[in-house]
Structures are given as structure tokens and as C-alpha cells.
């Protein structure tokens, strides 16, 4: 009020300007993150334009992939991506959920942190290393033991017929199952832990066993978060590239058997992009990438919404 102007004005104005400039700068960097997400979508769509213009939306429903005759359709790759990811969830999902329940509910205190850490290490192993292991260890093992066994028991189903190559859709799915375990296990563990202890105590007070408590009080309360965790795992499986590329067999067909070689969307880009010579071939690969981007985006948005709701919203109200 009565402060001399010399003490007040220059300093306040300059510091406010500085603050505004700084706030504007960091806000701009934040917006850059947004812009990046939008930019990825736009640039892929732009590069995919020629192929999508030539083949139309049917590009994603045609099962021909012939770079020599410049005839492209993404169905075999979409099929391979979906089937390997589904296998991954079917095999890896229960294991991951079991691990999460163990870590959140049953593990003794001294075991909890070390096991948590080891499971998280699964996510730190580079995917090319999984591919190397799948190609030289898991594939041969499957060819000589697991696949013949499955062929003997379930050979009446077309899914388990045909020669055993060691590489193929089945091996790809199994490698992915390993790779989705850390994602699903870590997120499920967190949402299970977020269930308030009241729920457990109420159930135990009614005379329920520890398993019944988990089964009837904890898991229902954590359900949507667990679904979110599985979707996050699905997102990882859909987009995983190197490990699958190295074990799936890389043939652009829709194999009738799970043991047959197939292809995935990510793998075809990894294998063919650097060697593609024609513009249409490149554009078709960009179109496959755009499809993959949209697919993983949808899955991830759904997953994040579910996990956020559980982590931040009221728990156990369903």
C-alpha cells in the first residue's frame, strides 16, 4: 500500500513475467507430449495413404500378401497377431494372476519383495533375448516334447495337427505368455493390494478361509482393475516385435494348425521394411503399422481407464 514504488514495481513485474515464461515453457513441453501422440497417428496415416487408397478398407480383410505382384492385404498378419496374443493371455494370464494373488495375499513378508523384484525383472529382459532363447531353447524343446504330446492327446482337433516345426504360432504365443506375465502380475498385485483390509476382515470374521476371503471378497472388488491389467498385457502382446519375429516362422498365411508357421503385424514390418523397394510395399507396411497403432491404442485406453478407476476411484462398490 504505502510501499515506495522503487521497492515494489520493478521486482514484482519482472518476477511475474519470469514465472509466466517458465510456466508457458513447461506447459509447452507438456503439450509436446500430447502432440507426439497425435503426430505418430497422423504421420503413420499419411504414409499409409497410398496403400489404403489403392486397396480401400478391405486392405485389413484381404488374405493376399504378395510383394512381387504388389498385391497386399493384412488379414494373415492380423490373424497371427490376435491368435498369438490370445494364446499369451490364456497361458500367461492365469500364471500372472496366481503370482499376483500370492504376492498380495499369501506370501510371507520376507519373500514378498524378492519375488516381486524377480517377476519385475522378467520385464527388464530385452525382447531380442527372449527371441534368442525361444529360437534356440524353447523352440527345439517344444518340437521334441510338448508338441508331439499335444498332437497325441488333442490331435483330433485341426488346431493341433500337422508337422512339428518348433517355430510357429504356438511357440510365438508361448514366448508372449512369458512376456506378459510381469505386466499383468505387477498391475494386478497393486490393484489387489488396493482393496481395503475391512473387506478381508469382514469375510474372515464370518468364518471364511483365507482362500474364500480372496475368492469372494478381494477378487470381486479388484475385478475391473484385474481386467485392466490383462488388457495392458494384451497391449504388450499385440505390439511385441522381436521375440515373435524370431519364432513365428514368418509365412504370410493363415495356418489351420497352431503348430504351423504364421506372421504377425509387427513381425512383417520388422522383416520387410528395410528391404522393401517399391513405394506401395512401404506404404502397405505403414498401413499395417497404422492398424497396429490403432489396435493397441484402443486396448491401452480401455486398460488405463479401468486401472485408473480402481486405483483412484471408490473400491469395492460394485
Amino acid at each position: 500500500m504505502a510501499l515506495p514504488a522503487t521497492l515494489r514495481r520493478p521486482r514484482r513485474i519482472s518476477s511475474r513475467t519470469e514465472d509466466l515464461v517458465f510456466q508457458g515453457a513447461v506447459a509447452l513441453l507438456g503439450v509436446a507430449v500430447l502432440g507426439l501422440a497425435v503426430g505418430i497417428g497422423l504421420s503413420l496415416a499419411g504414409e499409409a495413404g497410398p496403400a489404403l487408397g489403392r486397396f480401400g478398407p478391405g486392405f485389413f480383410a484381404r488374405s493376399v500378401w504378395d510383394p512381387v505382384r504388389e498385391d497386399f492385404g493384412a488379414l494373415p498378419h492380423i490373424y497371427g497377431t490376435l491368435v498369438t496374443s490370445l494364446l499369451a493371455l490364456l497361458i500367461g494370464g492365469p500364471v500372472a494372476l496366481g503370482t499376483a494373488i500370492f504376492l498380495a495375499e499369501f506370501a510371507p513378508g520376507w519373500l514378498r519383495n524378492p519375488v516381486s523384484y524377480l517377476v519385475e525383472l522378467l520385464a527388464a529382459v530385452p525382447s531380442v533375448v527372449y527371441g534368442l532363447w525361444g529360437l534356440f531353447v524353447l523352440g527345439p524343446l517344444l518340437r521334441t516334447t510338448v508338441q508331439p504330446a499335444l498332437g497325441n492327446w488333442l490331435g483330433f482337433l485341426p488346431l493341433f495337427q500337422g508337422p512339428y516345426y518348433g517355430v510357429g504360432v504356438f511357440t510365438g504365443g508361448l514366448i508372449l505368455a512369458i512376456m506378459v506375465i510381469p505386466t499383468i502380475a505387477a498391475v494386478s498385485r497393486d490393484v489387489i493390494r488396493a482393496v481395503p483390509d475391512d473387506q478381508r476382515e469382514a469375510m474372515l470374521a464370518l468364518g471364511a478361509t483365507r482362500w474364500e476371503t480372496v475368492r469372494h471378497a478381494v477378487l470381486p472388488a479388484a475385478r475391473s482393475g484385474i481386467v485392466g491389467a490383462v488388457l495392458l498385457g494384451l497391449g504388450r502382446a499385440l505390439g511385441e516385435t522381436m521375440a515373435v519375429t524370431m519364432v513365428i516362422g514368418n509365412r504370410p498365411e493363415i495356418p489351420a494348425s497352431l503348430f504351423g508357421p504364421g506372421y504377425t503385424m509387427a513381425a512383417v514390418i520388422a522383416n520387410e521394411f528395410a528391404e522393401a523397394t517399391s513405394d506401395l510395399h512401404l506404404s502397405a507396411l505403414f498401413a499395417v503399422g497404422f492398424g497396429l497403432f490403432v489396435l493397441t491404442l484402443l486396448v491401452n485406453v480401455a486398460a488405463r481407464l479401468l486401472v485408473w478407476r480402481v486405483a483412484w476411484g471408490p473400491v469395492g462398490g460394485e
Binding site: 507430449v33 530385452p126 531380442v128 527372449y130 478361509t209 504388450r236 505390439g239 511385441e240 503399422g289 491404442l297
Partner: protein, 288 residues
């Protein structure tokens, strides 16, 4: 009465057995998860150690089919790519993190940025590679370390943003208020007081992001591309360790398979050391 009591006991015993079975299954699952990890790391260690030699760490690759040579240029290439990735991602990521923690705790824009950063984490790395190809390789007209580093930077970015934000939020508001009460401007409080206080945790987050980026192969296939020779020029194609492992693994040569395992051992050691360092540095901060 007795009959009723007896039935209850039998029923209760059955419930307990069911409980044990399912608890046993969860133990089995955890054992399986950890067992797979040891199976993978064990093979990498055994085959890697037996394939490791000095040439791998000091020489460049020999022509296809010739035995010998090494991956020295690829190891240096990976370090260069990760360095470039940091140059791209750290300023933007830390800046965006400061915005989210200091200015955008609840605004709609901040909420959207937060959500998109989370979603970006899920974009497949091969798609990021396509993006880097479209924005850097096509305009420059050739594969380059720059494009590879950019792709890795995009992959690191969301982790850096969220780590920065979460660590800054752990700094109590009383610290900020103390700074402001001394008449220090808000931006200086953010940069000189809050950021240093959270630096330890932020470095941990960055280390984790670097460990993840260093092991990425897919986004480098058509950006950094690979190179048989030494290269320190960011505008030229560059070798990278994961890329080299991939090429050697799918080659038909036994000696290259040996080198692929040895290279995998080097890569896994680098990555695990980085995440172990991060883990130890952040004891009690990140582990929930």
C-alpha cells in the same frame, strides 16, 4: 446334534482343503514365473560365458561366414544411441513432468497429458520406429544414428515424464511454501529447491527408462539400421548391440550364434546392472 456337528466338520475340512489347493496353485504360479526368469537368464549366462572372448569386446564384425570378429562397434553404438535418446527425451520429459507436478495438478489439460503419456507407454516400439522413419529418415534421405536415437527417445519419454512428476509430488508443499515465503520466484523454487530435492528419484526413473531403451531392437531396424564398421557420426547408420544379436541369431552361421549368445550376455548384464542400480538408489521410494 452330533450328526450335524460331524457334517460341519467334514464340510469345514473340505473347505480348508480347497483353500490349500488354491493357495498351492498361487505358490506354483509364482514359482513358475520366477523359474522362467531363471531358465532364460541361466541359458544366457551359460552359453554367453562359454562364447565370450576378448575379440567380442574389442573387434568389429567379420564378413558373413567368417569366424571371429566382435561387437565392439555395436556396444559403442548402443551407448551413442542411448545418449542421443537422452538428449531428445530428458529436456522434454523433465519439463513436462515439472508442468504436471507444479502447475497442472488437476487441470483438464494436465489430466489429458497424463493420460496420453500413459497411453504412449503402450505404443508398440516397432510403430515408434515407423514414426522415426517417417519424420527423420525420409527427409534426411538415409538411415542414421539420429533417427535411431530419436526413436529410443520417444520410447523413453513417457517414463521420464511420469517419473519426474511422481518424484516432484513427493516433495512436501511446505518446502515450496518456505521458498516462496523467502520471496523467491516460483520458477526458481521449482528448479533450484524442488527439483534438487527430488533428483535422486528422478535419476532412478531415468535409469529405468534408459535400461529399457538400451535393449530395444525393433525401432532400430530401419532407423539406426546397423553398420559393420566404427561410426561416431550421428548422421550415419550405426550398429547397435540388440540389432547385432538379432542379425547374428537368425543367421545360418554357428560362430555368429555363439557371438549372439555372448552379445546377449553383455546386453543383459548392462540392462540388469542399470535396473539394479536404480533399485538400490531408490530403496523405499519406488518400491510400493
Amino acid at each position: 446334534m452330533d450328526g450335524y456337528g460331524y457334517r460341519m466338520t467334514a464340510h469345514y475340512r473340505r473347505r480348508k482343503i480347497v483353500g490349500w489347493i488354491f493357495q498351492g496353485l498361487t505358490v506354483l504360479s509364482a514359482g513358475l514365473s520366477v523359474g522362467v526368469l531363471f531358465a532364460v537368464l541361466g541359458f544366457v549366462f551359460v552359453r554367453g560365458v562359454s562364447g565370450l572372448d576378448l575379440a567380442l569386446l574389442t573387434e568389429t564384425p567379420k564378413p558373413p561366414g567368417e569366424a571371429g570378429g566382435g561387437m565392439a562397434n555395436a556396444i559403442v553404438g548402443t551407448l551413442m544411441l542411448v545418449g542421443l535418446a537422452c538428449v531428445f527425451s530428458l529436456p522434454v520429459g523433465i519439463g513436462a513432468g515439472i508442468y504436471l507436478a507444479e502447475y497442472g495438478r488437476s487441470g483438464a489439460l494436465a489430466q489429458l497429458i497424463r493420460f496420453m503419456a500413459d497411453v504412449l507407454t503402450g505404443v508398440p516400439s516397432i510403430v515408434v520406429g515407423l514414426f522415426a522413419y517417417a519424420v527423420l529418415v525420409l527427409p534426411l534421405g538415409r538411415f542414421s544414428a539420429l533417427a535411431g536415437g530419436f526413436a529410443l527417445g520417444v520410447i523413453m519419454l513417457p517414463t521420464v515424464v511420469r517419473a519426474t512428476e511422481e518424484m516432484l509430488r513427493l516433495v512436501p508443499d511446505s518446502v515450496r511454501e518456505a521458498g516462496l515465503a523467502l520471496g523467491i520466484t516460483r520458477w526458481k523454487v521449482s528448479l533450484r529447491i524442488v527439483l534438487p530435492a527430488a533428483l535422486n528419484g528422478i535419476v532412478t526413473g531415468i535409469l529405468l527408462a534408459v535400461a529399457r531403451a538400451a535393449g530395444e531392437t525393433a525401432p532400430l531396424l530401419f532407423t539406426a539400421f546397423g553398420n559393420r564398421f566404427w561410426n561416431l557420426d550421428p548422421t550415419q547408420p550405426t550398429a547397435a548391440l540388440p540389432l547385432q544379436i538379432f542379425v547374428y541369431a537368425i543367421s545360418p552361421y554357428d560362430d555368429w550364434h555363439r557371438q549372439a549368445w555372448a552379445g546377449a550376455l553383455v546386453l543383459v548384464s548392462l540392462v540388469l546392472l542399470a535396473s539394479l542400480a536404480a533399485r538400490l538408489g531408490s530403496r523405499g521410494v519406488l518400491s510400493r
